[in-house]
């Protein structure tokens, strides 16, 4: 990945920053959709380099953050059962459900394992035919193809002791929901490059047109983000609202066609609750009828579990860009990465965790 060096070159970054400053004549508020972009912006101090009036609003694109509490509680219930091997990506282990997290289940004797790919979980299922192996399939359009491929493989290989706890969410309906909110301040979007590398860009022109907002598909390295901001500012200043691809090395307009075909086969669109935001119609995927036997919620009969959020946590307002993380009264007090009230504080890509981890200096100085 040596080539990534070029995408954090300070000289090139300075030129882009100068161009952004030269182009900006008034305040603008734009939302970076993806948590990976938020993390990069805060980690590299990119927002500190922008003109004072240019505000980055941190969007809901952290898959860990928006996984609803009830799904996490269902995961906990499944993982605690004897004979179950519950497999997950690492950053889901510390996400609090109502009372505990997967680490707690593991400490109490549950067989909870961190894997790096859903295919690892499938291998565990094949190696342990006497166990029920469940993979926690969360995330946006980015992680969904691998999960779809794994379920497809499980059926093809006849692996009956594997199932998927699905909580996939989709970006375009979330953008629409944000724009429909009466308190919305977002004037433009940096779309998530990795999502578009799977799905292409065709879903965005209708949104740009309907809501009169520029949408710039943006990558994750510092220069990617600065280039996304530069193009967005130029559109805003010129009164344009187009879809631009500022991440052509990874994104083709038509997307990844084989991946999309696999997604259509394995998943179907469903209403989905987003943690902190609520139910957004047609904003998620569930296993299609053809693959229903691999649905962990059905297999373990946990679909009835319903839970309520902490009343102190304002992660929903953070996820919709209505407040900055440190404007929540619980930030850094009742709510820290050690004791997160909401998932925006627990995930490394959550806006609250990024502010707590990298920005305490200014927040202390400001007091």
């Amino acid at each position: 990945m040596k080539y990534l060096d070029e995408f954090s070159d300070p000289g090139l970054a300075r030129r882009l920053v100068d161009e952004i400053h030269a182009a900006t004549t008034r305040p603008w508020a734009m939302m970076e959709v993806c948590g990976g972009q938020t993390h990069s912006i805060i980690r590299h101090g990119i927002d500190q380099l922008l003109p004072d009036g240019v505000e980055m609003i941190h969007g809901p694109g952290c898959p860990v953050c928006v996984t609803p509490l009830e799904i996490i509680d269902r995961a906990l219930a499944i993982a605690a059962r004897p004979g179950v091997v519950f497999c997950s990506f690492g950053d889901m282990l510390r996400v609090p459900g109502s009372g505990q997290d997967l680490f707690s289940v593991k400490s109490a004797g549950g067989d909870v394992r961190v894997v790096y790919s859903p295919l690892d979980a499938l291998k565990i299922a094949r190696d342990n035919p006497d166990k029920e192996v469940v993979f926690f399939g969360i995330g946006f359009e980015t992680t969904a193809p691998a999960n779809a491929m794994t379920v497809h493989q499980a059926r093809r290989l006849g692996v009956r002791n594997f199932s998927l706890l699905v909580s996939h969410v989709l970006v375009p309906p979330a953008i629409a929901a944000i724009m429909e909110s009466p308190t919305c301040r977002v004037q433009a979007f940096l779309a998530a490059g990795h999502v578009c590398s799977v799905m292409g860009t065709s879903q965005y022109p209708p949104l740009a047109e309907k809501y009169q907002v520029p949408v710039v598909v943006t990558g994750f390295e510092p220069l990617d983000i600065l280039e996304g901001v530069r193009r967005t500012i130029l559109q805003l200043e010129q009164g344009r609202h187009e879809v631009e691809n500022a991440y052509p090395r990874a994104v083709r307009d038509e997307g990844n066609l084989p991946a999309m075909e696999m997604l259509r086969d394995v998943f179907e669109v469903t209403d989905r609750t987003w943690r902190g935001i609520g139910m957004i119609p047609d904003s998620g995927w569930r296993l299609s009828g053809r693959y229903a036997e691999f649905d962990a919620e059905r297999r373990f009969d946990v679909a009835g579990i319903r839970t309520a959020e902490s009343s102190l946590c304002r992660s929903g307002d953070v996820l919709q860009g209505l407040i900055k993380p440190h404007e929540c009264a619980a930030f850094g007090k009742e709510c820290t990465p050690r004791n997160p009230l909401g998932a925006t504080m627990v995930s490394s890509e959550g806006a609250c965790a990024a502010y707590f981890t990298y920005r305490r200096l200014e927040l202390v100085d400001a007091k």
């Binding site: 990945m1 889901m92 995930s347």
Partner: protein, 330 residues
């Protein structure tokens, strides 16, 4: 698990559970080793460490040489010459004697290379399923030369922060041989005994203020501990950090911060600014310090906090890792 990760949770366990329970029986400066005085003013460094690394054998080393080098380094961070060590094993029933023999061979070789003697030990076996292979504890004693005063509270504003070489190598080496991870290249652990490197630094006559062996929790945890103990701020220049491509790529892939990844053959040195060049020259002249460099400065601002100046000119706080580092989803 997080309580053993070397980050904030580990520190809280010591501060809120162990030290209050021990009360006046505890005397802890919370360095890598304790410094005790015996007889006619002879100062001994005394340290203990347990090793539970999984897998037991990894590219560049094993739990055996790690157990020796780890304790040698904890002693060396006080400026001590390591002399004697213990080795205690907790074995799970069913452990292969061939594995145990290989670990013992590695320990012997590492001890001979470090010039320490393994003088006492213990072995216990637990039921199958009660442990996880082989756990090793080593304790060590060394003598601190007269005139050497190295401790976590001695960092002062203006001091230079040096690192003896590439960071994050051991952590990535161990991760690379866990199930499901393949970085497409072999990363070898940097496990090594560092007392010779410390001796070379002290031979310059420099008044070395602080030495740390940034193992669990990485450079971030060590510098935060120093900043807190000395009530100074630490300012790092991110572009000066020696992060090998393999480590950076692996961390990028997993969403980890190289500053928080474990090292086993590196040291951090805090030295007065006017000694920095000669200490750095001594480090780079030693085989284990060829890639040493200055990475930052102790400052009066933001006491107790480590701040990095990013490559783009912004700043970010470098915090203690909370517990175990968790690979991210995407």
């Amino acid at each position: 698990m997080g309580h053993g990760g070397g980050g904030a949770m580990s520190a809280e366990l010591v501060e809120h559970l162990f030290l209050p329970a021990y009360g006046s029986a505890a005397a802890a400066e919370l360095g890598d080793s304790a410094v005790v005085t015996v007889g006619e003013g002879t100062r001994l460094a005394f340290s203990t460490d347990s090793f539970v690394v999984k897998p037991m054998f990894f590219p560049g080393g094993s739990i055996g040489d790690l157990a020796v080098n780890g304790t040698v380094n904890d002693l060396a961070m006080s400026g001590a010459t390591p002399l004697f060590m213990s080795s205690a094993f907790i074995l799970q029933e069913g452990t292969a004697l061939t594995d145990l023999g290989r670990i013992a061979q590695d320990m012997g070789a590492a001890a001979r290379a470090a010039g320490v003697r393994l003088v006492t030990g213990d072995t216990k076996v637990v039921d199958s399923g009660s442990g996880d292979g082989v756990y090793v504890n080593t304790s060590g004693i060394g003598v601190i030369p007269a005139g050497v005063d190295i401790g976590p509270r001695r960092a002062a504003p203006g001091d230079a922060v040096l690192i003896s070489g590439d960071i994050g190598v051991h952590g990535v080496a161990v991760m690379s041989c866990r199930d499901g991870l393949d970085f497409g290249t072999t990363v070898e652990s940097d496990t090594a005994a560092l007392h010779g490197l410390v001796a070379a630094m002290l031979a310059t006559g420099a008044d070395v203020h602080v030495l740390r062996d940034p193992t669990r929790g990485g450079v971030a945890a060590s510098l935060n501990e120093i900043a807190t103990a000395s009530a100074v701020g630490v300012e790092l220049i991110e572009r000066d950090l020696p992060v090998p491509d393999t480590v950076r790529d692996a961390c990028s892939l997993l969403g980890l911060d190289p500053l928080q990844v474990a090292n086993e053959g590196k040291l951090l040195a805090i030295v007065p600014a006017d000694c920095a060049d000669r200490v750095l020259a001594a480090l780079t002249a030693h085989p284990l310090g060829r890639r040493a460099r200055r990475i930052g400065t102790c400052v009066t601002g933001h006491p107790g906090m480590v701040v990095a100046r990013t490559g783009l000119g912004g700043t970010r706080v470098v915090g203690l890792p909370v517990g175990e580092q968790l690979p991210r989803i995407c």
